[in-house]
Amino acid sequence: MPITEPSGEDSGLLSRMDVRAKLLATGVCMMAVSAIQGIGPAVAALGFALALPLAAGIRLKSVMLRLMPANFFFLFLGLVLGLTYPGERVANVLRLSLDGLEMALRIALKGNTMLLIFIALVCTTSVPALSQGLRALGVPRKLTMLLALTHRQIFLVTGEFQKLHRAALARCFSPRCSLHVYKTFALLFGQTLLRSLARAERIHGAMLLRGFTGRFHILVPSVPAWRGAAFAALLGALPLLICLYDRWPP
């Protein structure tokens, strides 16, 4: 699977917002959506969430592709719950459980809504900016540094593995279900790890020589705090209202 890095430079409105505000709004929206129980309010929340990736400037096809892995899981869950959940049965050949199907539908609606919010608000942020935003919200520095460093290393380690894998394929390595193949994969992993560790130590030494003090600086000017707060409040209000309507209908 190719790794695509969120650039944080999409043309949409959401990508230009303050990262702290986006993270806070994501938390509020997702918690409100997770508390929804009714199918109607869940559909309303999904409608709200569908507008977010468009506002973030993400293409619909890309959104659908990103939703696919989770929906495979929801499909699996729907089948199992339909066949095994206790309660009233629908009169058909499979005798699917009505309660099970309703639960699976609710899970799929809420799950997709939360993913859409996550894609629009968090996935439009570059990982270094995300790391800075988390630090500004009080997440320990070691953890945010680990996030920034891991993100960089992922591309290096993956490149190293692909190089070794290509070399193995050039030597007639043919992946199939055998002990030799598992041993080869283990050696590829081990060798990738060794090479990546050696390079990381060299890079770290070079960074220290150039005065690295454990801080990564972002050159993009930040959005004023009041605009971020207003944005988070506005965005979080609608899912909260839907959740309140669901819990205490008028």
Partner: protein
């Protein structure tokens, strides 16, 4: 191994987040700051494991490498696995934000426990070290499947059938993971034994976050 957003109940999500926060705090205390770059390489390697598909019968499965993470990192596996899962959520939308705590616990708890338990065996060398590698790989996947099943069963008893299926489906993955982990351990014992004995300096005691 990820549970998607929207599936688990609020109490399960809350308990998972609290346990993960405690584990991450403990892991960060043990992680030497000057060695963060090495922890990042290990995190990236475990991330890579989820991208590489290993043949199994007519299909293929991806590796989890949780047992290896536990053997290398001990408690520091908690923050490393958390970061790996966060990046998987951001880059591929596997899992999600609210369920991140539970997913971290599912992967990190068996990894850390097996790592702490099997590291002394690993240091004895020979066949015992290979057996420890196999046990770490297999045990971590089985532990993950059981924890995922437990989280589902705690949410709703109606999930029991799905939970059982998850455990059964992961049995062959556990066997392959054990074999691969065993060979990786054998390779690293010859080339970088300091990685497996904890003498690489990733961990320290009594440090602050």
């Amino acid at each position: 191994m990820h549970i998607a957003e929207g599936v688990l109940s609020a109490p399960v999500l809350g308990a998972g987040a609290a346990t993960a926060a405690f584990g991450i705090w403990l892991g960060l205390r043990r992680l030497e700051e000057s060695r963060l770059i090495l922890a990042a390489v290990l995190a990236a390697t475990f991330f890579l494991g989820s991208l590489v598909h290993v043949p199994l019968g007519p299909g293929s499965v991806h590796l989890l490498l949780g047992g290896l993470a536990g053997l290398f990192l001990g408690w520091a596996a908690f923050p490393v696995i958390f970061i790996g899962l966060l990046l998987q959520a951001v880059l591929f939308q596997f899992g999600g934000l609210l369920v991140l705590g539970v997913n971290t616990c599912i992967m990190a708890v068996p990894a850390v426990l097996l790592g702490l338990l099997l590291r002394p065996v690993l240091n004895r060398g020979g066949r015992m070290a290979l057996a420890a590698g196999f046990a770490a790989g297999t045990g971590a996947v089985l532990g993950m499947a059981l924890l995922a099943a437990w989280a589902l069963a705690l949410t709703d008893q109606g999930f029991l059938a799905a939970a059982r299926l998850i455990v059964v489906a992961n049995l062959p993955v556990a066997a392959i993971e054990g074999i691969v982990t065993m060979f990786v351990v054998a390779f690293l014992r010859k080339t970088r034994p300091d990685l497996l004995t904890g003498s690489m300096g990733l961990e320290r005691r009594g440090a602050s976050c």
